[in-house]
Amino acid sequence: MKNPPSSSEAVGHKRSALSVYAFVYLAFLYLPVLVLPVFSFNDSQFIALPLSGFTTRWYAGLAADTAMHHALGNSLKVGLVTSLLSTLLGLSAAKAVTHYRLRGTGPALAFISLPLFIPDIVLGIALLLLLSAVGLPLSLAAMVMGHLLVCVPFALTVLIARFEGFDKNLEEASADLGENGWMTFWRVTFPLMLPGIAASLLLTFITSFDEFLVAYFLSGTEATLPIYIWGQLRFPERLPMVLALGAIILTVSVALVVLAEYVRNLGVKKVMVGA
């Protein structure tokens, strides 16, 4: 049509204004982050425009940096243990909250979620004081305990959402068909919860892996990756290498989050069918 009615024209204007807004918004969010990969390939010690040529030497430098490898190893260890433990704790709590009418469920949930709202620096200092008062040494184990506080609320949120779409009759049906509680868990609950469990593992792993403040206070002599990066910032000549490391972490984190979301959605339809 040559002369569309004015009302649809107005709608058209509104739409294009909205898409401009969306574009600006996304640019605001992600342009600063894009600085990392761009300068990590820049052939200059100085982080400044104009770019002075393509190089992969910063990445090569990372590959040779044993202190970084050690810190990465620590981060992976803490992240794995934290994600396993917090998912296990979250699973038990989520099942209790959604399957049984227990007294004090509300306050208990609030207390579990509280660490989300306490500034990490406060949490870090508090844990540091507690550990020294009790006489426990600073260590990776101490860091895991600190990270559990931060990660369990995330695990719980993901898993409760998953349990709520779960037909309680399915577990009763399994008992009715001769399976005890343990076998019912393995044959019914676990497979149906698997996408939620996977999402919780990924989410808590990333949370622990990225966490800096609590780790900083509790690490003692063992650095994790964020602490290592923080240390490197004192040396200007190492900055491009930090950018390269940041770019790698960014890529892996995004990939994990996308994977977690994908896995979480994967089984939602199936559970709904059972309800």
Partner: protein
């Protein structure tokens, strides 16, 4: 000795009792129904037989063994859930085979057993079908097959046909009855649908407020209800106030005021009624007849239902119309006749 014996079982969830001192016995191979409105305690009773709820008091015994301390997974019962509870991550075959794991059958034997059960519930060839690709009727059959394949001593059915549309429900009723006859397993069915209970069961327990009002065959429930509540719940019925004059060996004489005095079979009076008692005379709409003589009446409404019609008829001295079911009377003033053999006497205090 009966196969399923429930003795003085009570259960409450905090407030009023959900099941209140219920006793009943079901012989082996019977199709037994628990019938009542929602909240009458029938599902709680069923779940106690399955072991999902524990009675506060009383005992439940199956085949001579007291079940109170036996957990659900060790009871010789299997249940068809109202929601069917088909395992969504398993296909039809694996759903049906779920409860056979402990038998440790060789693969061929397991397959043969499941295939036979698929045939029984007429789902041949659908073993590979995913749970989310089944229709409502198919899900119902899978739930039934999954429970029956374990050859339980008692099969428990919780409103198994409630989620199906009317035509499918009627077809499944016939099939359920046929399957029960074929496998010979004792069935205990919970339903709020009186038609379903009457058409399927050998005997029905009518429940209300956690208590059993009457246990009888469908025909007896319909023709000889022992209380107003049962008569009201099963089909439509008219009530008239009356007084018992005398009760002899064979017949009882009852004065129903405007309607006249009736000599009805003494067996038509509910147990416990004595001469001089105020009672309710009850009669089904299809037993009331139009005639040239009798109680003068005026037809208020008539509804044509095919082979018969349903009428609301006013008679003098009574504000509530009488429900009548039958053929349209010939033109002219219709009179109503109440055949004494179809009148039932019920206590008026219930």
């Amino acid at each position: 000795m009966s196969f399923l014996v429930i003795a003085n079982v009570s259960k409450s969830f905090g407030g009023a009792p959900a099941v209140d001192n219920v006793s009943l016995q079901v012989p082996r191979g019977e199709f037994f129904a628990l019938l009542g409105p929602s909240g009458c305690g029938k599902t709680t009773l069923l779940r106690m037989i399955a072991g999902f709820e524990a009675p506060d008091s009383g005992t439940i015994a199956i085949d001579g063994e007291v079940m109170n301390a036996v957990p659900p997974h060790q009871r010789p019962t299997n249940m068809v859930f109202q929601s069917y509870a088909i395992f969504p991550h398993l296909n039809v075959f694996d759903n049906i085979a779920y409860g056979l794991r402990k038998l440790r059958l060789p693969k061929d034997a397991l397959r043969a057993k499941v295939e036979a059960m698929l045939a029984t519930v007429r789902l041949e060839g659908l073993g590979g079908r995913a749970a989310d690709q089944l229709s409502g009727g198919q899900r119902q059959r899978v739930a039934l097959a999954r429970a029956l394949v374990r050859e339980p001593k008692i099969l428990l059915l919780d409103e198994p046909l409630g989620a199906l549309d009317k035509r499918l429900r009627e077809a499944m009723q016939l099939e359920l009855r046929a399957i029960q006859r074929k496998v010979g397993i004792t069935f205990v069915l919970v339903t709020h649908d009186q038609e379903e209970a009457l058409s399927l069961s050998d005997r029905v327990a009518v429940m209300e407020g956690g208590k059993i009002l009457q246990i009888a065959s469908p025909r007896t429930l319909y023709e000889r209800p022992v209380s107003r509540a049962v008569a009201d719940f099963i089909g439509e019925i008219n009530f008239f106030h009356a007084t018992v004059r005398e009760i002899a060996a064979e017949t009882a004489t009852v004065n129903a005021g405007m309607l006249g005095v009736f000599a009805l079979p003494a067996a038509n009076l509910a147990p416990g009624i004595k001469p001089g008692d105020h009672i309710l005379l009850a009669i089904r709409p299809e037993h009331v007849r139009f005639s040239a003589q009798g109680v003068a009446s005026e037809i208020l409404t008539s509804t044509f239902l095919g082979e018969r019609s349903h009428f609301h008829v006013r008679i003098p001295g009574r504000s509530e119309p009488v429900a009548v079911s039958g053929q349209m009377p010939p033109a002219g003033t219709a009179h109503l006749v109440f055949p004494p053999e179809n009148l039932i006497g019920l206590p008026s205090n219930q």
